[in-house]
Symmetry: C2
Subunit: 293 residues, 2 copies
């Protein structure tokens, strides 16, 4: 019997609808939601990414501006740009498009984003508040996974949850969320001996390893909920690029109770979550701050 295939596009559409309503309400109250992205260096892919960000923002009524700095920009210059955006009252959210050039200390730059404008939740202070289970804004991939679990009425409390992949963007913040929800959380990665021994204990399996088709039926306990965060571009052998997850969907869907596909699973929900965080951030800035400056 095949499991429920979670429709990430539908979750994303519903989130966008909510966000569009919040943004419209704020505009009618005289407050625009305005996201500013900072990009350092100008690789072609960065520009394409920024254009796609802009289109997604426009779709829900969020204004978007791009601040492009040259590849050779110093840390002080990047921090100065962020400082201007922090104090610009028209800017309600700040994105720092990654990766930064190798000469830049990324967490040190993230530290300068006003925690209330840090829509990706990457400022170390925001990560620390998530650690303390008192977040202002959390990383959007982790928020997307938690939103999906809510939508399928999956309550992590008491579950054995296994997170494969230790990345700062997905695996580690997801582990923190699941710990706060009182799942028993195991964090696995490349150095894990006998991965299947751990993953087969999982009632809830989150895969964010960035390894195409790593997880197969042999790794999954029948009836588990499987969330595939991986988005890997591979060659299909006939010269075409195709996108696959970290999970072998066709075989795992036969034994999982619910599973996200790739594409069309976590990816679109993450994008929609970022927009929601942008709206939430703008709204929060109208309220008294917990972190005074």
């Amino acid at each position: 019997m095949s499991g429920v295939i979670i429709d990430g596009q539908a979750v994303a559409a519903s989130l966008r609808e909510q966000t569009r309503a919040v943004v419209a309400q704020m505009r009618s109250d005289g407050r625009d939601v305005h996201l500013s992205a900072v990009m350092v260096g100008d690789p072609a892919s960065g520009t394409i990414y920024a254009r796609s960000q802009e289109a997604r923002c426009r779709e829900v009524g969020i204004a978007y501006t791009l601040h492009a700095l040259p590849e050779a920009a110093t840390e002080d210059e990047i921090v100065a740009t962020i400082g201007r955006l922090n104090t610009d009252p028209r800017v309600t959210g700040i994105l720092l498009n990654l990766p930064l050039p190798p000469h830049i200390d990324t967490p040190a730059v993230h530290y300068h984003i006003d925690p209330y404008k840090d829509v990706e939740g990457v400022n170390p202070a925001n990560i620390g508040l998530l650690f303390y289970d008192a977040p202002i804004i959390a990383p959007c991939t982790a928020l997307a996974v938690m939103e999906i679990l809510r939508r399928i009425h999956c309550t992590p409390r008491g579950m054995n949850a296994v997170v494969v992949g230790l990345g700062a963007i997905a695996g580690r913040p997801i582990s923190l969320f699941l710990q706060h929800e009182l799942a028993t959380v195991t964090a696995c990665h490349k150095e894990t001996r006998n991965l299947a021994e751990h993953t087969r204990l999982a009632d809830l399996l989150i895969v964010a390893a960035g390894e195409p088709r790593l997880i197969g039926a042999e790794h999954v306990k029948p009836g588990a909920v499987v969330i595939d965060v991986g988005i890997n571009r591979i060659d299909d052998g006939r010269g075409n690029q195709t996108i696959v997850g970290d999970v072998r969907f066709e075989e795992v869907k036969e034994i999982a109770s619910a599973i996200t596909p790739v594409p069309g699973g976590v990816g679109p929900v993450t994008v929609a979550t970022l927009l929601r965080s942008a709206a939430d951030a703008a709204r929060n800035q109208l309220r008294p701050r917990r972190l005074t400056t």
Copy 2:
């Protein structure tokens, strides 16, 4: 065959010796190491704790001052006190003695401690930098556990590590450290179903649950390294207070390859680690800052 009993007092003495040398060197360079503790409310136990802090500081040559605020102090008043200590060039380290009264948002107050003076590593920004594996100062109980592992030549990489207890002071930061060291880390807690099933897989078992004598031989894999972070005051049944750990030491030492006793294990190392962090913090303040303000 009984395992190695780790002598926390010896580790602590060696750390204190190193710290004393650093502090003396700094003083001869004209820079005192000076820890300021902020205490809110005046429970008798808080005062006793502060006196003991002072004695421990004096032992390694660290100056200590206590700033006591009344129980009814507002968050703004506490933050203002911290602000004065942040900018006082004579103060090189700041401690905020917990717990704060219930009307205070503790992480929001921690956020105001200069990350370079935050000797306990509790500012959310310092927690976030630890999360990013780029710490300035980390929480001292976690540092103590990692120091003990180093001293017994235990390399967590690839090990199955199980951390019992999710506290912000011990369990969660220890889990982050062990993840960075590439152990496969499972975080267990009160909602974990069948605790022994998880702990029996552990090559490295860290117990920070705050539950007297929770872990017995039935929870431990023969040959495991067992680190007991618990410090529980209990009545011995004859009206005497005694201190016990979270581990049933007498039975677990028979099967562990190495184990910390309570008292005399993690506790003294934690105290010594805090003093080392105070010396490190003072030294770091003489160098260029990664986090500019």
